[in-house]
């Protein structure tokens, strides 16, 4: 596995951890210009920490679905190119705006990730989609947004089992979500995010 350019391992208070270069946003420790990327607070961070090949090289154009308060998307904007951040809820959007203030390549959009028609007039075709939306129908969201990727484009998604069905076992939820994803994507990597995130599955896929 290779880390994208712009993501490095640095030492923070005696411990080595992932880091990106940018203005700190959530009180994370820093080492000069580098700030720590906490894998417990970020599913993409957990994927890197678990050694999963994400196919990210750095500098890509990114559509980030489910940006929430911007913890992960702040790190993404540090190493990626133009980064479109879609978030539906107004409360976390306020924090995301503070993150965007110091990052000119970050474009916040208060939109519903289930309705791409409402942001396709702003978002250009991208190299990578990163998805972390905790609603039912997570595979459907990835399929509806596939129009933003060219053939061969990369989707990195964190599926949350409990958002789909709290009674069904996580493994059976995940296999259902993955087979739905295969309508349009080829799955490259599939990894549970424990111990960082319980009942989450990380998937890296390529648009067919």
């Amino acid at each position: 596995m290779t880390l994208p350019t712009g993501v490095e391992r640095h030492s923070f208070e005696g411990e080595t951890g992932l880091a990106t270069r940018g203005k700190p946003v959530y009180g994370e420790p820093t080492d000069g210009e580098w700030r720590k990327w906490n894998p417990h607070r970020s599913k993409l961070g957990a994927l890197f920490e678990l050694g999963v090949e994400t196919n990210l090289e750095g500098g890509e154009t990114v559509l980030y679905l489910g940006a929430a308060s911007g913890t992960t998307v702040s790190h993404v904007a540090d190493f990626a190119g133009p980064t479109y951040a879609v978030e539906f809820a107004p409360r976390p959007m306020r924090d995301l705006l503070a993150v965007a203030d110091s990052r000119p390549n970050l474009f916040p959009l208060l939109k519903d990730a289930r309705k791409p028609v409402e942001y396709a007039h702003v978002v250009e075709p991208v190299d990578v989609i990163i998805q972390d939306v905790a609603t039912r129908g997570q595979a459907r969201v990835a399929l509806e947004n596939s129009q933003f990727l060219d053939t061969g484009g990369i989707l990195i998604v964190a599926f949350k089992a409990r958002s789909e069905d709290v009674t069904e076992s996580p493994e059976s939820v995940f296999s259902r979500l993955c087979s739905e994803l295969e309508e349009e994507y080829e799955i490259l990597e599939r990894e549970r995010l424990e111990p960082y995130h319980a009942d989450h599955l990380g998937v890296v896929a390529r648009k067919q």
Binding site: R91, L109, V122
Partner: protein
């Protein structure tokens, strides 16, 4: 990549004037994405890609900030004002409709104490000092009713913003009334389900606590179809089930704010089961 849909245009189609571009980002649509940076450069909206992204950053941040601020103004206290204003307008309009109806009866044998008659009366030409006042008053009552309708429309739009789940389960009007009775979404979210069940029936509840009446089965939630449509002997069970789900909805709205469509399904199932119990 999709071929460009000719009806699609980018967020910059009205130019980069801040107000218009923000509006376009917020309300525009497109069937599919296109290479907007190149299109903007080719159509000379911006000189190069760097300036495109600079403008895009400024406009998307302004659009998101504007939407967030609008949401924060649409808070639970505004709902309380809306629902109380609606009640006052309706009550006053009803009182004045009776007054005008009674008054008009002394001029016009066909007078009735209802809105349709007042609308008709308001259109008439006045004859003389006193009749001018009567018709003028009829006009104002009609306007007051229009205002009540508009308050209700505003409430129907604003309640789902503040309390999406409660509004989905109870309907916007009942949701707003519950919030008003509790004094806010925060205090509603912190009440036990048994309290929500009898909100609006405080007189009956205190009569019961003093020991001379049976406990109320329900308060304002009586207006919900799940209870109104239920046979009398099942209304207590239905009220308990409904109050339970509404309490959960209020808590999700207060602590997370995300819509959970499965809540409405669960409520329907529960009510259907109570109804089925009766027909056995």
């Amino acid at each position: 990549m999709n071929a460009r849909n000719p009806s699609d245009s980018g967020w910059f189609v009205d130019g980069l004037d801040r107000e218009r571009a923000v509006e376009r980002v917020r309300t525009g649509t497109a069937m599919s994405p296109h290479d907007w940076p190149s299109i903007a450069v080719e159509s000379e909206v911006v000189p190069d890609r760097d300036e495109y992204y600079e403008s895009l950053h400024e406009i998307t941040c302004a659009a998101a900030r504007e939407a967030v601020e609008e949401h924060e103004r649409a808070d639970d206290q505004q709902l309380i004002h809306l629902v109380r204003a609606l009640d006052d307008c309706q009550r006053t309009a009803n009182e004045l409709t009776e007054r005008v109806g009674e008054w008009a009866g002394s001029h016009d044998a066909t007078a009735r104490m209802e809105t349709a008659y007042l609308r008709e009366l308001a259109e008439r030409d006045a004859d003389g000092l006193v009749e001018r006042r009567l018709i003028s008053l009829a006009k104002r009552v009609v306007e007051l009713e229009t205002e009540a309708d508009e308050l209700e429309t505003a409430l129907e739009r604003a309640t789902p913003e503040v309390a999406p789940n409660l509004s989905e389960l109870a309907g916007p009007l009942l949701a707003a009334r519950l919030i008003a009775l509790a004094g806010g979404l925060d205090s509603l979210a912190k009440k036990p389900s048994g309290t929500l069940q009898v909100l609006g029936a405080e007189d009956a509840l205190f009569a019961h606590l003093k020991g001379n009446a049976s406990p109320p089965k329900h308060g304002i939630i009586y207006t919900h179809d799940a209870i109104r449509g239920m046979p009398r002997e099942q209304r207590g069970s239905a009220a308990r089930a409904l109050a339970g789900k509404l309490t959960i909805a209020a808590r999700i709205d207060y602590y997370s704010g995300e819509l959970r469509p499965e809540l409405a399904e669960e409520l329907d199932d529960r009510i259907e089961r109570i109804r089925a119990r009766d027909s056995q």
